[in-house]
Amino acid sequence: MEYIRAFITGGLICVIGQILIDKTNLTSARILVLFATLGVILTGLGIYEHVVEFGGAGATVPLPGFGYALAKGAIKGVKEMGILGAFSGGIMATAGGIAAAIVFGYLTAVLFDPKSKN
């Protein structure tokens, strides 16, 4: 059941992205920025927490989930450290993912060459 909820939630978030791409000519870069930022805003408003409760990884794996982790970290940071936490909390919560993206991204780009497009 958990897996079905993740499948449906993640699938629906991607469908919203697909509709935006097809209907508005937004580039994929803008979609990624928009979704991450929306995730932060919806978490700040206390809405995205419910989506995560229902969808699990279906809500945390798509880019709004990255925004969710950022915002949740900032809120947690404020509770634990005060105003400093507003600045450090978001990156602390997402540090693993950001570092992994940088290191794995760099290594892959060094090791592999772009495939010729057929």
Partner: protein, 154 residues
């Protein structure tokens, strides 16, 4: 002469209407179905990694979530390096862009493309052509949320 022009215009307009109405609609439906399927599958794999991290490695929710992100980012980086992620992306559209794997792809893909510009301004700089803006807006928004919590809610 004028009536011919008007006629031609009418035909053009009608054709435009026809062209606008039929093919994109059916495309959008197929695109959405593929996005749903692929996006759903990626999230289900994420859920599986998350559950393994929680149940077999006794991680809490945040640790498991970070582990899931890191694993998916690694898989997507490798698939991009091997040229397979683009193949999935051709069919999946947003289904391969919106998940965190798409974020990873958006780092590796331009970095590889601009490799010959060097290791600093090529790979080093171009890695962030999409990931950079995501971090700029995401992190800034999270600081704003934190500050609002500090001043108004806490």
């Amino acid at each position: 002469m004028e009536s011919l022009d008007v006629k031609q215009k009418k035909i053009n307009q009608e054709y435009q209407k026809y062209a606008n109405s039929i093919p994109p609609k059916s495309n959008t439906v197929t695109n959405c179905a593929m996005a749903f399927l692929v996006g759903g599958i990626i999230c289900t794999i994420g859920q599986a990694i998350n559950n393994i991290a929680k149940n077999y490695y006794n991680m809490n929710t945040e640790e498991a979530s970070a582990t899931t992100s890191i694993t998916l980012i690694l898989i997507a980086a490798l698939l991009t390096g091997l040229g397979l992620y683009e193949k999935i992306g051709k069919r999946a559209g947003a289904g391969s862009i919106v998940p965190i794997t798409g974020f990873s792809n958006s780092i590796v893909s331009p970095a590889m493309e601009h490799k010959r510009e060097g290791y600093v301004m090529g790979i080093g700089a171009k890695m962030f052509s999409v990931a950079g803006p995501v971090l700029v807006y995401g992190v800034s928004a999270s600081v704003v949320v934190g500050l609002i919590h500090y001043f108004f809610i806490k």
